[in-house]
Symmetry: C2
Subunit: 201 residues, 2 copies
DNA sequence: GTCTATACCGAGATAGAC
DNA sequence: GTCTATCTCGGTATAGAC
């Protein structure tokens, strides 16, 4: 669920417009590079309207990041455990991630700003870690544990390798502009990843 | 080689002081969050001295990132190909990376700011990609190709998995503050990585 | 709550003495 | 080349009318 979808479920119209505008500007220009004037223009409200909803720039930023993180990933908390045959499930998991996330500018921008502002806003980084990374890794490690035929010794570490490879691929290709220099086909990564984990088939 | 070490080999004293100060401030506060006044204070020179060496803030930033990237990683260009028995060499490669990089604030800050400023300075991201990522991946893929007994189908993709797992681990632990919430022992990652790649021993 | 107008400060960049 | 002093603009945040 994107922020827009999440907001349209609520009723506070002006506050939603502010958060929408704030997302555009913060994600484009970073925290320090964002001015409240631009947020006001982007959101289509006056600057004072922002300050009547949020105490200051910092509060606005924190509220925005929290809302996006939770809106997009609270489903992870409620998701069932993973099921299905390993080769097929792992392949689908990797492909969906690379396709969906690699083209999702909102997700990529969130990831980028979490890293960029991890010193100024360590709580935001920790929230992201607990809501997305830790939970995702745990779900996959549970799956590995329930499939001993894969011969995986350390399911948590292997789950990190799985997601870490995917995330770093997307970061390199889409954020560090690797794609524009020498695109590495994502299918090759998926095949090699499945091959490594599912070797003894 | 750190920036300090690299600078001490040259002779231009004031310019070195400026770059040293700029590194401290840019790495701490990001590009937009950095003021030229603070750089001047940190470097121990006046602001006008900075402007006599660098045309503007952007030029200073680009010069700094280029210098660090090239100073630290030009050795990669000249390095021999990797040699040694797979299990031992891969383990050593992973352990050295995790130990050296994980505790190297200058490297971590560089990685962070490359990602953070990848939209504003795509050329810097591309330089990093070509100087560090592409070259590192190529060296390891060469090694894989020279060891067919490992049974690796796609050496480039597997090299990405190897380094991608290590980099994402360091990013999550050290930058996203994962270490402070639930430290995942790096030895577990190394063992699982070697285990996956070197299964058919 | 929402707007226009404004206070006040710190930003990047420059002038001019030495 | 290097410094101190300064210009000008855009930043966050607030005052006060409606």
């Amino acid at each position: 669920m994107t922020l827009t979808e999440s907001l349209s479920l609520t009723s506070n119209h002006k506050q939603d417009k502010i958060l929408q505008g704030a997302m555009q500007v913060f994600f484009r220009d970073g925290y320090a590079g964002t001015s409240m004037d631009r947020v006001a223009i982007e959101a289509g409200v006056s600057k004072q309207t922002i300050y009547s909803h949020f105490h200051d720039k910092e509060s606005l930023f924190k509220a925005l990041i929290e809302q996006i993180t939770i809106a997009r990933f609270h489903t992870l908390f409620e998701s069932e455990e993973l099921r299905g045959e390993p080769e097929q499930l792992l392949r689908q998991l990797a492909e969906v991630y690379l396709l969906k996330v690699g083209e999702d500018r909102e997700y990529l921008s969130l990831l980028k700003i979490i890293i960029a502002e991890s010193s100024r806003f360590p709580e935001m980084a920790k929230l992201y870690y607990q809501t997305v990374i830790q939970r995702g890794r745990y779900l996959l490690s549970q799956y590995f544990d329930s499939h001993p035929e894969l011969g995986i010794k350390d399911s948590e570490a292997t789950a990190h390798i799985f997601f870490g490879s995917l995330v770093s691929f997307v970061v390199v290709q889409e954020i560090i502009h690797g794609k524009e220099i020498m695109p590495l086909p994502s299918q090759n990564l998926v095949d090699s990843l499945i091959h490594l984990i599912h070797r003894n088939k």
